[in-house]
């Protein structure tokens, strides 16, 4: 019978020592996520980076804050700046040279507008101005129905614009560009690009609730909660995979109340009134600019037509909460989403777009 065997008591001691060390290590682990908040595009921008030393993180935050401020100015739809100048030129002469800072937005916006059947249309600045949404102060009351009809009759459309090199020619003087439903997406894409240039591969850039996440949070994926469109709390949680954007458009964001009714700022270009077909739409898509435009277009499309628009825009992951609180999802989205709401809402799976 072999005599040199490990004493069980020694083994126990070793085990306890290991356990103790592990416990200590867990307790003392500093949070490797660093975060900064700043205001841009009239909203709170939140940048989180993981596993980056403090100096690089600070540099990233400062850079991003500066860039966001620059983009906010470059693409501002009503404060004096390049976009306002462009709109003025288009209105007076029907054509204009596009400022370099705005040029990269035109072609993608035209493409997305066309593919969304015009439900996403940055040319309706005039309509937005009529409603008073082109101002920092919220409007007090909706415009008169007659005024809306008159504005609609002018039919400004993104398709009225023709881009030739860097000159924009319009066949409709009523076109007034407002990239509100798109600019944040572009900014987020560029911000992520800059973070990558700095060597940061695990981060979230969250511009007022719409975000793009890259990499992971250490050992686990970034977890993104989608806010409940009615009431407090979170509707669902999504785990970001790799590099993707998660954008939500809702009827509860910017807007105003008048005589007991709520009017939000995502206007339906067809009716001239705030989109009424859904409470919120969440889209997952690689680039943020497309996700931004898509979420807007789908909110306008509403519960009736969203699948068709999703098809045209080649979206895989879409979740829409309709006017009754029923959650519609593509099958692919259903696999990615974990409903947090208790009691859970009614869910309807669509066919794959």
């Amino acid at each position: 019978m072999p005599t040199r065997r490990l004493s069980p008591y020694l083994l126990l001691l070793l085990g306890l020592a290991t356990a103790g060390l592990l416990a200590q290590g867990c307790a003392r682990q500093p949070d490797a996520v660093q975060e900064q908040q700043f205001i841009a595009f009239g909203t709170l921008v939140d940048v989180s980076v993981y596993g980056v030393d403090a100096e690089l993180a600070q540099r990233a935050f400062t850079d991003l804050e500066q860039r966001f401020a620059q983009w906010h100015h470059d693409w501002h739809a009503w404060e004096p700046g390049p976009l306002v100048d462009l709109n003025t030129a288009l209105e007076t002469t029907g054509e204009a040279e596009v400022p370099a800072v705005i040029l990269p937005l035109i072609a993608p916006a035209q493409d997305l507008s066309a593919r969304s059947n015009g439900l996403f249309d940055p040319a309706i600045g005039g309509l937005l101005a009529l409603w008073g949404f082109q101002s920092d102060a919220p409007p007090q009351a909706p415009p008169a129905a007659a005024a809306i009809t008159a504005e609609l009759a002018k039919r400004p459309r993104m398709s009225d614009l023709r881009l030739e090199d860097d000159r924009l020619i319009t066949t409709n003087r009523a076109v007034k560009l407002d990239f509100g439903a798109f600019a944040k997406g572009v900014a987020v894409d560029r911000a992520i690009e800059h973070l990558r240039e700095l060597g940061i591969d695990n981060a979230i850039v969250n511009a007022g609730g719409d975000l793009r996440a890259i990499g992971r949070r250490g050992t686990r994926a970034w977890r993104i909660g989608v806010r409940n469109p009615r009431g407090p709390g979170v509707l669902a949680v999504i785990e970001a995979q790799g590099d993707e954007s998660i954008f939500t458009s809702g009827d509860y964001e910017r807007g105003f109340d008048y005589q007991g009714r709520h009017y939000h700022h995502i206007l339906d270009p067809r009716t001239g009134y705030p989109a009424a077909g859904a409470r919120s739409v969440t889209v997952i898509y690689p680039d943020a600019a497309t996700a931004d435009a898509a979420a807007t277009a789908l909110l306008v499309a509403g519960a009736k037509d969203w699948l068709e628009v999703a098809r045209n825009l080649q979206l895989r992951w879409v979740m829409l909460v309709d006017g009754e609180g029923v959650v519609h999802m593509t099958p692919a989205m259903a696999e990615r989403v974990h409903i947090e709401l208790d009691p859970p809402p009614l869910i309807e799976l669509s066919e794959a777009p």
Binding site: P2, R4, R5, L6, S7, P8, L11
Partner: protein, 170 residues
Amino acid sequence: MQVTTTREDYRIAWLTALAVAIHLVEATLPSPLPGIKPGLANVITIVVLLRFGWGSAAWVSLLRILVSSLLLGTFLSPTFVLSLGGATASIAVLWVASRRWTPAFGPLGLSVLAALAHMSGQFGLAFALFIPHPGLLHLLPVLLTAALLFGITSGIIARMMLQGIPENTP
């Protein structure tokens, strides 16, 4: 060609058959949660380990899983995969536990080790392959408690069986 069999082969074959029989009976029992089976067939594994060595125990274990799954029609099913995973973890741990340089465990200790390893292996596989939901972790302590209890029971039965099979049986 002649295949010679020894008395040991007969013994092992008989014990494997017994293990399969126990496994089949257990398979008919309703279980409160998937994955909670008394695992009494493990008794045989421990007895073989202590009388015929680890190699034989490993054979008996694997044969038991294979034959049972073929008889039950669950071969290559998720149940089979989980069973196999559990058994593999179990015999791996038993290998470590029966070395010269590890403490001397008795049938009870080995049984508990085998049962805990088996349950952990099954859980790990289920988590990795079938239900990667963090909520599943809530079941783990419950499953391991069951494994501990069944391990102790198996250990007691194994001990009793071993008293009936004296060492150095030809």
